[in-house]
Symmetry: C2
Subunit: 214 residues, 2 copies
């Protein structure tokens, strides 16, 4: 249930509406924890019901109201409890690697296309994270500044360092994915070179299709 804790952490930087929280998920937390607004609004209601946050109704325009949420003491305690608790790794479930295990049912060209997309995707998010790290080190994201302004000066180094360390880990991970995809592309070149199979034909077919029945 990390969505809940991501929201608690965001709210410690200051009261926010559901909309603003959803925005933060798109900019700062994005690529680290994804959540659409359709998941955020009901979760905020549940958290309010559980006493972890409280809402203040603010006017918007002439008629409308918006609800700004802030942490309660119970919410702050829950945040600290979560941070202290050791995280058990979720079970592995990786669609790209699973599929890569069965590329023999596809052609060289198809496998190549997938490795290229994998490489490009991870390159792109790696650059995103690197830019984020640079901003964190310059301490110039709005959220980080708010957080630092509320924390004792003695804690500033740790606050920044933990975030930089996490994003650096993600960059390393993305780098590993890019390298994996590139090794995959070389592998295909090698296999293709040793093979009489044309580049657009599968290496093998599922058993039921080889009987020549129909």
């Amino acid at each position: 249930m990390s969505l809940r804790h991501a929201l608690l952490a965001l709210l410690d930087a200051g009261a926010m509406t559901g909309y603003e929280l959803a925005k933060q998920f798109d900019v700062s937390v994005a690529y680290l924890w994804h959540a659409p607004h359709s998941q955020i609004y009901p979760e905020l209601r549940r958290m309010e019901a559980d006493g972890l946050i409280e809402a203040e109704a603010l006017p918007r325009g002439e008629r409308g109201t918006k609800r700004a949420y802030s942490l309660t003491v119970a919410g702050a305690a829950e945040l600290m409890r979560w941070v202290a608790e050791t995280e058990t790794s979720p079970p592995v479930r990786d669609p790209a690697y699973l599929k890569a295990t069965y590329y023999e049912y596809g052609s060289f060209d198809q496998a190549r296309r997938q490795f290229r997309e994998h490489r490009d995707h991870h390159r792109a998010i790696m650059e995103h994270w690197q830019r984020h790290i640079a901003r964190l080190q310059r301490r110039d994201t709005p959220l980080l500044q708010k957080r630092l302004s509320l924390a004792p000066a003695a804690a500033h180094e740790a606050i920044v360092a933990y975030k930089v360390h996490a994003y650096e880990g993600l960059v390393e991970r993305a780098r590993a994915e890019v390298a994996w995809a590139e090794r995959g592309l070389s592998l295909i070149d090698r296999l293709e070179h040793n093979s009489a199979v044309p580049p657009d034909a599968p290496a093998t077919l599922p058993q039921v299709l080889t009987g020549g029945t129909e």
Copy 2:
């Protein structure tokens, strides 16, 4: 919906019962795609309803029956369609990295404990994968042997190479996780050295807890 495709791929190696499929998830596919039997049985029923697999009722003991599933032509086609289709990366959702971003709400000791567990976990699964790679290279897992016996000799190299490549990628990934955790441990040593905060006290508290209101 990769569970479905993992099952299709397993069934191409030969007809299996739900129980045997669940076992395969625990040995060969495990640590690559996790699925409990409570998810497998109903999925098999749905796949049968969709015409991707068909069941043969076999006697077991005096009274009971078991159902051995095998691929239909439609199932084989679906397997090939899935392999050809490019996989879009699932949105990032990593509880360990998310939490690592907020370690300032915990003590040095707590952060250290988490990095140690992270390192130990990934070391363990790395060794598991490495053993699996060795078995694949020796071509001595039952599933691989069955698969090779059904495929043309020209495809054998690719079948083994794709699997080895996928598991090698997972090993590299685990290695990156271990390195990340170890850098995390050094970071904590460094922060602790520069800090007056005792090792069992949080670096900072959520805002609502600092007012002195209790």
